[in-house]
């Protein structure tokens, strides 16, 4: 039976570790789950301290049923990452209510480790790691505390566990590098809701301006060779075909045959490392010619769509061509879709559009005249435009005349459609910050952009960016430049020489490397690594061989480390002398029993060998004085050593 204080301490350790494991989840758990778990933790600790009775089985079953019902009510399911995590947290709370013996503690600690794993399913960035590592450590320390069977002295749990984790690190590294990965998955991808910022399959006026102030990285691109000029850095994202007069959306319902694409020009090869979007799209430069087919397929409107939402960092290689003729033939059905306008909405725009088209000689000329209108009339580029009425395009064109890319793209596309030209809005990112330290391009949410794509009889789908007509700096140098004019920021954030800017770039580079080397380490990189070890065409047997050798080396290192730690310490000089004295007596047949204290032994020597009594007593007393009263240290030691040297029975 444990003494109550120790029992409380164990409970406190376990509870603290569990709460730490729960912390990263508090961002996404329903508030009632977090509150309930924390309340149970607090109550259980109080109950332990005050000696309250723990609830009986009936109450616990009732609470378990209520918790499950609560999860179903607020998540509508009990599977999936969100509901699963909530259930895990609630199970831990329930277990805490009946935690008495070490086995219960162990269950809690195991749940804690599962919560850590779940935290990685949500995010794999360095911040999460910085949070989870101490938690794993704390959980292991709690296990050490619980697993102690003796009441006697023992090592400090946290420090000992730290030392053991350190020793485990080399083996873990070997396993990570060489453990065979599977292609694909055993079961489906994790699905969870998350509040991610970024582009979606919908765009209403004002949507993108929220993003424009957001410096979060959307993706990073490393070019294998030349970079396209800024004016061609259009990263195609969602293509929005349907318009209800206010909001553009992708429209899932229709399927069309894949149009032909003719590619030309010098291609650009690059690798994109995409941060989680929660969406089913990949971004690529227009027009993409090659991409990992297993990962995504190209839709009829030239988007790369994935099968599952991108919920973790994803890396892919792609090749894009600057010149293309896409969809030179337009089917009737598609033409119908791309001309669709909500009946009765934005009447003034439609009217204006028809008049302007009649005045223009061709579709292309008409498009130019609309761009000229944006440029020459009083239109302004701003990120804080006034709100728009239900007929958003009319309101924008004839009243407010202030807006950013989304407004211009929406208005332009509407005007094109009104004039009988197939057109659509394309969302994506435009531009990018060059990171000279890492040698890659950073696309931030602030680079989110929207433009138009119109179908012209001789060139197929053609990109027209109406924002470029109003604010050409936006295309060349980014949104800040468009807003504040070029000079203002020359030495500032966008300028590229300030200390802060440099630190930011270094930090971003660290994040990029983290993604490349840790988060994205996969089968291909594993094979590269094996090739570096001299395996020509590595298969799984080579992998197993390297894994075995690596583990062997790591284990040998560990064994050596432990042997060094456990090595017998050399006794101090006094003990060494006393032991020599014992050995000499042993040779004469006087053996000290293990349970005999030095003085008892001296008394026995006195009885057995009265002739040795005097030196034996002197040696024993000197030894004891050195042990327990080390004040006269050096002199006593010299004396002791001299006596033992002369002691030769």
């Amino acid at each position: 039976m444990l003494e109550p204080r120790e029992s409380f301490r164990r409970l406190a350790w376990t509870t603290a570790a569990l709460v730490a494991a729960l912390l990263p989840h508090m961002l996404h758990l329903r508030i009632w789950v977090t509150a309930l778990v924390l309340a149970v933790c607090a109550w259980r600790l109080l109950a332990e301290q005050r000696g309250w009775r723990l609830p009986g089985a009936f109450v616990r079953v009732l609470v378990a049923l209520a918790a499950t019902a609560g999860v179903i009510a607020s998540y509508t399911t009990i599977t999936g990452l969100d509901a699963g995590t909530a259930l895990l947290a609630l199970m831990a709370a329930l277990k805490l209510l009946e935690t008495r013996v070490p086995r219960d503690h162990v269950v809690l600690i195991f749940i804690g480790w599962f919560l850590c794993l779940a935290a990685f399913l949500y995010a794999q960035d360095m911040l999460t790691v910085a949070f989870v590592v101490p938690t794993v450590w704390l959980l292991a320390a709690a296990l050490l505390r619980v697993a102690r069977r003796g009441q006697g002295f023992g090592p400090a749990p946290f420090r000992t566990t730290g030392a053991m984790l350190l020793k485990a690190l080399p083996m873990a590294l070997v396993l990570f590098l060489f453990f065979p990965r599977i292609a694909g998955s055993f079961w489906g991808a994790p699905s969870h809701e998350r509040a991610l910022t970024g582009l979606t399959d919908e765009m209403s006026p004002g949507d993108i301006s929220d993003l424009t102030l957001d410096d979060t990285v959307a993706f990073r691109v490393r070019f294998n060779g030349a970079l396209p000029p800024p004016s061609q850095r259009y990263w195609r994202g969602p293509v929005l075909n349907e318009f209800d007069g206010y909001t553009w959306s992708r429209g899932e319902s229709q399927f069309f045959p894949m149009p032909r694409i003719q590619l030309s020009g010098r291609p650009f090869d690059y690798t994109v490392t995409l941060e989680p979007t929660g969406q089913r799209m990949l971004f690529a430069l227009d027009m993409v010619g090659r991409w990992p087919a297993a990962m995504a397929e190209q839709s009829w409107d030239f988007q790369l769509r994935t099968r599952y939402p991108v919920n973790s960092v994803l890396q892919y290689e792609a090749r894009s061509f600057p010149g293309y003729v896409a969809g030179a033939q337009l089917s009737m059905a598609l033409r119908h879709l791309e001309l669709q306008l909500p009946p009765g909405r934005n009447p003034r725009t439609i009217d204006l559009s028809k008049r302007m088209r009649a005045a223009a000689g061709s579709d292309l000329e008409f498009a130019r005249s609309v761009l000229a209108m944006f440029r020459d009339q009083e239109f302004y580029y701003t990120l804080t435009p006034p709100g728009l009425a239900r007929d958003s395009v009319d309101d924008f064109l004839f009243n407010t005349r202030q807006g950013f890319c989304g407004h211009y793209a929406s208005a332009f596309t509407t005007m094109m459609r009104a004039a009988g030209i197939p057109a659509r809005v394309v969302g994506g990112y435009q531009g990018g910050d060059w990171n000279p330290i890492g040698g890659y391009l950073i696309l931030r949410q602030s680079h989110a952009h929207a433009w138009s794509e119109v179908w012209l009889a001789d060139s197929g789908w053609t990109r027209i960016d109406p924002t470029a007509a109003v604010a050409p700096e936006r295309i060349e140098r980014g949104p800040e430049a468009a807003l504040f004019g070029g000079d203002l920021l020359q030495g500032g954030l966008a300028g590229g020489s300030g200390l802060l800017w440099q630190a930011g770039m270094i930090w971003d580079n660290v994040n990029a490397r983290w993604n490349d080397w840790v988060v994205q380490f996969n089968r291909l990189q594993q094979q590269e690594l094996l090739r570096a070890f001299g395996f020509g065409d590595p298969d799984w047997q080579d992998l197993a061989l390297v894994l075995g050798i690596g583990l062997g080396i790591a284990l040998a290192l560990l064994s050596g480390w432990l042997a060094w730690e456990f090595r017998p310490r050399r006794p101090d000089a006094a003990t060494a002398s006393y032991r020599r004295f014992l050995r000499r007596l042993e040779r004469r047949g006087v053996d000290r029993a293990p349970y005999e204290a030095p003085r008892d032994f001296a008394a026995r020597v006195h009885r057995l060998r009265p002739d040795l009594a005097a030196p034996a007593t002197a040696i024993t007393e000197l030894y004891l004085r050195l042990r327990y009263m080390p004040a006269h240290g050096p002199r006593d030691l010299v004396l002791l050593q001299a006596l033992v040297r002369r002691f030769d029975p």
Binding site: R149, L169, M171, P190, S559, F566, A593, P594
Partner: protein, 323 residues
């Protein structure tokens, strides 16, 4: 708690055959330390497997790192658990003969010559285990192994397991010792016994001029002499334990004879004898013992008590019992 998780007789006899008997002090070397995962260790393995499947399925590298780190931690604790026993020196310490019905205590000294403390070492016999002890680096600890006794005679400590689950309880390492140590169990003193028959006159086995009446002088204390005779004032002055001697009427010194002890059978007569001896020694009295074929001349003191009780215990002793 029952010690042997694999109580297979075969395994035990295999271990006994390969290790041979142990006498004196035994260093626990690699060859005689066995290790297996505990139930907790197996549960930990199942948890790791689940984490591995999940991480592989979602190609979650950080999850994999977590899984591998915990797996490596388990391997480290396996080594640490093994090392927690390795190079320990187990040696015989004292035994204290009990009366039948009490526990025989076998002491085992565990010395740690290494530079790291060894924690939570549990020594156990088949029947019972001692409280866990920890041994500091370079230190020593003594474990009391209690063996329940039912009757007089010899108890043998045949098989001892020294077990540890330190540090995390994921593994259990143990070493088996076959010390073959014996401990004598005295007959249980009868709860009530008639007073011993009076000594035959003054010409019996001898008398001493000692009694309780008149102070005669001081003499050195010997264990077993009644505390009320200790000269506490002299002790306070000189720090030496002295006993007051009294002279008085000559008291006949009894010699306890098995033939004169009442009782239905041998065991109950031995019990009565044990009672007489314990009482006489408690009073600080001198006494002798006579068994068929054995005569111990009268003497006072603890040594005499031990000698006489041992003689009783060994008299037609029952077959030794393995502990």
């Amino acid at each position: 708690m029952r010690l042997t998780r694999i109580p297979s007789r075969w395994v035990q006899s295999w271990i006994r055959r390969r290790q041979g008997p142990d006498r004196g002090s035994v260093t626990l070397r690699r060859g005689r330390i066995y290790i297996l995962p505990t139930g907790l260790g197996c549960a930990f393995g199942v948890m790791l497997f689940g984490m591995l499947l999940g991480s592989l399925n979602y190609a979650n590298n950080l999850g994999l790192i977590l899984t591998f780190l915990l797996a490596s931690l388990a391997l480290v604790t396996m080594q640490a658990c093994h090392r927690n026993l390795e190079t320990l020196i187990a040696s015989e310490a004292g035994t204290e003969p009990p009366f039948a019905g009490q526990d025989a205590v076998f002491q085992i000294a565990l010395a740690n010559p290494g530079g790291v403390a060894r924690c939570d070492l549990e020594a156990a016999t088949v029947a019972m285990s001692a409280d866990p002890v920890s041994v500091a680096a370079g230190g020593e600890a003594t474990v009391d192994l209690r063996v329940a006794t039912q009757r007089r005679g010899w108890v043998t400590l045949d098989r001892v397991e020294i077990t540890t689950r330190f540090p995390y309880g994921l593994f259990r390492a143990w070493a088996v010792l076959h010390p073959g140590r014996r401990c004598l169990v005295y007959p249980r003193p009868a709860d009530s016994a008639p007073p011993p028959p009076p000594a035959p006159g003054s010409g019996g086995a001898g008398t001493t001029r000692r009694g309780d009446d008149d102070f005669a002088g001081l003499k050195d204390y010997h264990p077993g002499e009644p505390p009320r005779h200790i000269a506490w004032k002299a002790y306070a002055k000189g720090g030496e334990l002295l006993v007051k001697e009294f002279s008085g009427a000559a008291e006949p010194v009894p010699v306890f004879d098995l033939d004169q002890a009442p009782g239905a059978d041998l065991e109950s007569r031995l019990s009565v004898m044990a009672r007489w001896i314990v009482d006489a020694a408690g009073r600080g009295q001198a006494f002798g013992l006579r068994l068929p074929g054995l005569e111990i001349p009268p003497q006072p003191g603890m040594q005499q008590r031990r000698r006489c009780l041992a003689a009783l215990a060994e008299y037609h002793a029952p077959v030794p019992v393995d502990a």
